[in-house]
Symmetry: C2
Subunit: 165 residues, 2 copies
């Protein structure tokens, strides 16, 4: 936890805004760093409501598992009514309890397994900065930043920075 | 150019396939490496037909210009009927002729300038590997790789690799 006081109102608002931005987008693109460069792949998003961390489900025998062990820096992007970029770090979590919490029928089909599969692993992404561009205007898109969304870092939540694209 | 013979049939097919995959998707997410981590942002895609390289238009006074000068590794992802991931390297090209070639009315609005603006710069992405996932099936998505799409690298075009997601 941060030693600095966190503005809970702003923190709450930031979570709410991101929850709204990504709601209903059932697939995100997860970008990882490999020895060859940057690769991305579609990931089924969680049905459990966003509360500050993003959770994805995968298997240990995948390239992304190895890539994340080597380099946890990731970007998660969402394309929907807005374009959302989440910069953060991924943590690989082996937890049968968490798997059950996030499990739903879509994963059974998508991953072709059951929630008891010991090969399952969760990717927990702690957002560092969330940026989004609204698509209401065909000309310039508004861009907003959320720094240290979770309030765990050295910066407080910042809802107000707006920069030109 | 490669010293190795390139299979022009496969090369041509790969270009055609990628052209088809990204056709009509007017915004892509461009991911770059920064000192803080991976960031992505929406980029208006070219209207000129894809011929092996991806071209984007931006300005020199942007974060992405500085980021690409520091580290040219990028990922470009397209979300449409399929999910497409392009791993490659970006080159910053200052060329009034190329700007005019790619210019269209949407850029005038989006970048709020004219094609004569000396601040304009093109981002040319040479794809190294293109992967895509088809979304026809709700269960598993087919993934295909195109290695060294342009045939300029050490590997030839490979249309046949298919791996499980």
């Amino acid at each position: 936890m941060s030693n600095k006081p966190v503005d809970h109102q702003d923190h709450h608002e930031a979570i709410e805004t991101v929850r709204h931005l990504i709601k209903g987008i059932d697939t995100a693109m997860l970008t990882t760093v490999t020895s060859e460069g940057l690769v991305s792949r579609p990931m089924k998003t969680q049905e459990v409501e966003f509360d500050g961390d993003l959770w994805f489900l995968t298997k240990k025998d995948t390239n992304k598992y190895d890539e994340l062990k080597d380099n946890p820096e990731v970007n998660v992007s969402y394309v929907g009514k807005s374009y959302v970029s989440v910069r953060g770090r991924a943590e690989l979590v082996t937890s049968p309890e968490k798997v059950k919490e996030f499990w739903n029928a879509a994963y059974a089909k998508f991953l072709d397994t059951t929630p008891e599969d010991p090969n399952l692993v969760l990717i927990k992404v702690e957002p560092d900065t969330v940026e989004y561009w609204e698509t209401g205007s065909i000309s310039k898109m508004a861009q907003r930043f959320f720094h240290k969304l979770t309030g765990k870092g050295k910066e407080d939540v910042n809802l107000n920075s707006t920069v030109k694209l």
